[in-house]
């Protein structure tokens, strides 16, 4: 197998990118409406955010949004990097790095959601 073929995107990853893109499209629409259209001057204050997260659907939706948006972003970034036709070994290192960055981002974002939800329980 030559180097160009080695660096091609596999069908599974392509499907993740496309599928997550569709989910992001719809959840982002909700996110934009809540945070930029419904909110006064386009931004929610701390109390508004905490109250918004008291609805049990919101934390679940936001964590799903976090997972799909990070997956989509990193799979897309990988596609852009593949255009540079990097050596296969470097590409493998980049894949590992993207996996670590993605996992760290999801863990951090989920922790943040848990913190906001816990603040709402005291109200």
């Amino acid at each position: 197998m030559n180097k160009v073929l080695q660096n091609q995107e596999r069908t599974g990853l392509w499907l993740i990118k496309i599928g997550s893109g569709v989910v992001v499209f719809f959840v982002l629409a909700i996110h934009l409406v809540v945070n930029h259209l419904a909110a006064p001057e386009g931004l929610l204050l701390y109390e508004d955010v905490v109250n918004y997260y008291r609805n049990p659907i919101v934390p679940v939706m936001e964590v799903i949004f976090l997972i799909v948006v990070i997956s989509h972003a990193l799979a897309g970034f990988r596609s852009i990097l593949m255009d540079l036709n990097l050596p296969a070994r470097l590409q493998r290192w980049i894949d590992a790095l993207l996996m670590i960055v993605g996992t760290a981002g999801i863990v951090y974002g989920t922790w943040l959601v848990v913190v906001i939800v816990s603040r709402g329980k005291g109200l």
């Binding site: 499209f25 930029h36 386009g42 897309g76 255009d83 540079l84 036709n85």
Partner: protein, 131 residues
Amino acid sequence: MRLFQDRPSWRNFLRWFIPLKRKTGSWAFVLNRVTALGLLFYLCLHLVMLYQLAQGPQAYDSFIAFAKSPIIKFSEMFVIAGGILHGLNGVRIILNSFGIGVRRQKVLFYSLMTIAAVGISFFAYRMFFGA
């Protein structure tokens, strides 16, 4: 230096900035990649900035007061525009990938970009002149 070659290369990155001999499909490709990089940068920034929420109401609300300044709102408009353009361009890519509208790619692209322009104008109006 060969700037135009078929196989993937880091030199292809330079092609994004060369407007010569570019067709609609190529503009759509560049738009997708440029908005993707911009949105990825914003996503990182957004996640870092949201740490203010964990620091409490004072830290977060003073950050929001700063974010309401015209220059930040103007920058945020770029993010919203990037999101709408990337999203609708992505719809075209998905449809084309499944064989839908392949023969009418140009019409599909311009139609979706018209919807994007309307959406961006609507958000801009609401953000700068809305209640």
